[in-house]
Symmetry: C2
Subunit: 188 residues, 2 copies
């Protein structure tokens, strides 16, 4: 029997990120994360498969949000515009959690294994977006290419955002990167 | 002391792919691959870290070839055209080894772990292409976006090529996918 723990997921995520920052990812154990969050290991494993997955638990929510935004775009919207709207909406969410995103990113950037996990999540997002476009009647290869182009824009904008010293926000960087992609593919 | 084995690398690659097809990737051991190739395990490990890497040993050659082609494009070439020329040249090489590529792909598609490895290799290619474009004076984010767009085109064209029933060749599918990317980013 387990009692309900208010916001256990969020507390575990925060505790994990704090410890990864203080001690390093390898040196941190699940027991320590649970203790820091004031919870048990058993509770940890109800939410996450392992200490790596704590860093990627937002991927499901992000995918759902991108897919729903694309699916609910007006029928008249060009595929790239439906995808751009979804990416900007996601960008707004990241922007609201900028501090958390930056700290998470610095842990990931320090570990090849975590960077690989991030790439795999991005590829899954591209695949989910392409499926959603197909359900809107977009043919292949346009569906795959639009989805891959969208994820490329997101990836590059995100890298600029976490590096950026000039404080432009992520939705703006996404719009700029999409404009730049249009320019480079046009051979400019 | 080891004697020289003619084309040991190629024989090991071929033996590995044969065995992965016959028995499955998991069920095949390095000892069996070496035996099938008429070589020793010791020779295997001179060329490959493990049985997974046999499938990815071409990645270094591919990267070198893409980077060299982009680096030697005329100064007047638009970045996307330099990248497209490199991808088409790579496409020609794959086309010449179509049978091998198709068999390799069917092994990879059956194993999430191998598909992940493939994604990571593609991300490394994008990163190497972006670096090469920067050395040609292309600024960011144009360099990153051109490289990511190029890899997206290659990925989608490759997926069509291995699926394709109509026998179009890979360089042609790469050109078509790039044209399609131009159309979708323009909002068509």
């Amino acid at each position: 029997m387990s009692r309900w723990e208010p916001n256990a997921r969020g507390r575990l995520e925060q505790a994990a990120l704090d410890l990864y920052g203080e001690r390093g990812f390898e040196q941190t154990t699940v027991a320590e994360i649970a203790q820091r969050a004031g919870l048990t290991e058993r509770t940890f494993f109800r939410y996450f498969a392992d200490k790596r997955e704590v860093l990627f638990s937002g991927a499901g929510t992000l995918q759902e949000m991108l897919v729903n935004t694309v699916a609910s775009a007006p029928d008249s919207a060009a595929p790239i515009d439906a995808v751009a709207a979804a990416l900007e909406a996601a960008g707004t969410l990241f922007q609201e959690r900028r501090e958390y995103s930056l700290r998470r990113q610095s842990v990931i950037a320090a570990h090849a294994e975590l960077e690989e996990r991030e790439l795999i999540k991005l590829a899954s997002l591209a695949s989910a977006l392409a499926d959603t476009l197909r359900r809107r009647g977009v043919k292949d290869p346009a569906a795959s290419l639009t989805a891959e182009a969208g994820i490329a824009v997101f990836k590059v904008a995100f890298e600029r955002w976490v590096d950026e010293t000039n404080q432009r926000d992520l939705p703006q960087l996404i719009r700029e990167s999409l404009d730049e992609l249009k320019a480079v593919t046009a051979g400019k």
